[in-house]
Symmetry: C2
Subunit: 394 residues, 2 copies
Amino acid sequence: MIAFRLEAGGATGPRAGVLITPHGEVPTPAFMPVGTQATVKTLTPAELRAIGARIILANAYHLYLRPGAERVAAFGGLHHFMAWSGPILTDSGGFQVFSLGGLRTVTDTGVVFRSHIDGSLHELTPEHMVRVQELLGADIIMAFDECPPAEADRDTARAATERTHRWAERCIAAHTTAASLFPICQGGMFADLRRASARFIAELGQPGCAIGGLSVGESKTLTWPLLEASIAELPTSKPRYLMGVGSPEDLIEGVARGVDLFDCVLPTRLARNGALFTPDGRVNIRNARFATLDAPLDPACDCPTCRTFSAGYLHHLFRCEELLAYRLATLHNLRFLLRLMEEMRAAILAGRFTSFAADFRARYRIVDEAVRLEQRARYAARRGRAADTPAAPA
Amino acid sequence: MIAFRLEAGGATGPRAGVLITPHGEVPTPAFMPVGTQATVKTLTPAELRAIGARIILANAYHLYLRPGAERVAAFGGLHHFMAWSGPILTDSGGFQVFSLGGLRTVTDTGVVFRSHIDGSLHELTPEHMVRVQELLGADIIMAFDECPPAEADRDTARAATERTHRWAERCIAAHTTAASLFPICQGGMFADLRRASARFIAELGQPGCAIGGLSVGESKTLTWPLLEASIAELPTSKPRYLMGVGSPEDLIEGVARGVDLFDCVLPTRLARNGALFTPDGRVNIRNARFATLDAPLDPACDCPTCRTFSAGYLHHLFRCEELLAYRLATLHNLRFLLRLMEEMRAAILAGRFTSFAADFRARYRIVDEAVRLEQRARYAARRGRAADTPAAPA
């Protein structure tokens, strides 16, 4: 079982704490790098530790399909299988199933769908996905939920939210191990549904609560009031996990509103596309202006990439599609986010989060929302499958 | 300038020595990992050092095309550009130009060919490729040569060999820096041409000699007598470099005959295809028998992969086409070869090379030659370009 110790902050607004797990402590707020298939793409566990990762996420959906949960259990569980000795959280597969295109049938029983790998037919139920996660052996496991799309109308959102609640109760009833199970609140794009869902989830009495169904394609002007509506009903003493959020500017907004845990494929996926974070905003390392730059991409960055290689060399590796490029870029982007979390935590403890956030926002140029949504749509179209399962870059 | 100190052995038969370069000493016999485009595919310089690489090779041909030799010079040369502080040898581009399919025109002046990247037209001359290598700034640079194919008849082989000799003289005349220039002997598949070529190359008085045009598709029963013919005419006191040879069994044969330096893309390319070296021979990690193996691929191996991850996990990464797979496999295969070189050197110094080689041969199951040649042809057909420039694995 996990525990949570709040060190600064309260019911809303920025908080600093410590998440205590059977595999070590995690200072919060924390970002969890995503290791979809039991590997944070391109990196070793030793590298993850070296850049400050304290907890990682893996996907029950992907690992259920390949290599199979029983297989991972036979290897002694995920920690041993992937040689990561720190805490692990597994996502239940709900988001993956609902973000898949193609055939799926949802009933109160569960979801019948076709594998994105071989087209084979599978039925996932709340009970089954709890069992899968118990076999994987993570420290924190997630309830199986139905995540309504951003464009869902009120009735659709309400139906998905109510099903999510029923499934959360079934997950808790089915759960048998010492892993901590976090239920997920939904509510679509409706503040009153969000509040009611958060209240329901809070009353389940589990050791932590997750907020799902945000940052799924809606405008950011919607996201933050809806996040506030959810958080208002969650217990102060337990960790709050905002699922699938991880751009630098969104992490600032989430922390400002009282989120403790985040995960997102964005930093690692962007890295493999050559889009790198800097204090001034995202840059594309393939851009010709980097070809002759014999200096680190960010001279102030403490990541292994910036400490060792020039932006010009990184540019060369990307132009040549060398595999080392994706590693070095991933190290940089993840370290950028992990350092941002460390800096936010220090600012909260020192009582200067507001000025830290203002300084960051003043300098960091955000990608235009229209461009961002278009990139997202293009990415989804190109993949033709779950948006968080990119293959090796082309 | 380099120097060479022979510590054991003589004109023929196994030798141990030390190659002394401006960037450090290299115990010989030594294998040079190939960093075609200024990166040993998937690995960082720190990892190369950690697995025992003491010298690496880069390709003047590729770096001339991208990012350009002047560009690398503006970064302070290859060592600084790629952040590798040890010795570097650059190949002249001769082999790449002649192993390219497509349009090329060879005259005594040089070679006119189309870039494999963008189809642009280039003329490479001996003088030009010396200048390119001087700009790259390697410790050892190679003469520009014409490498006849394995099926070349006597007249074709003789003409290519004589042109190689004339070009070697022009390279030496054009050479202006402190880098050490190694000329290359050829001779096709004809022992008398090989002997004459080696004699000619030896008399040029350069600090080292290379043996080219072997292991280019001919049967191994031809290779070794031809290697012996070449070596018989080379000076005892200078290092001999057998180009493009790097399977474990071939390294044993080369060292047994007096070779000091080797390079080959084989270990790194095989790794990316999931073919891994073990003391019993090559295995394909994708094979179903590894799926459940919760033990290192080779429990006796001291590579970072075998020390940290199970064969079953490696199998999973390859099945999922995860980028980490190619790194971990590359580390393993390179460490296998580098350790083999260390073990051969120790055996030579201890006067027990013959028994070491016999023990190795008795255990290591060699890939059937017919299979090997077919794999080679298939690989070349799939790539449709220079056989040593694989792109990221499919």
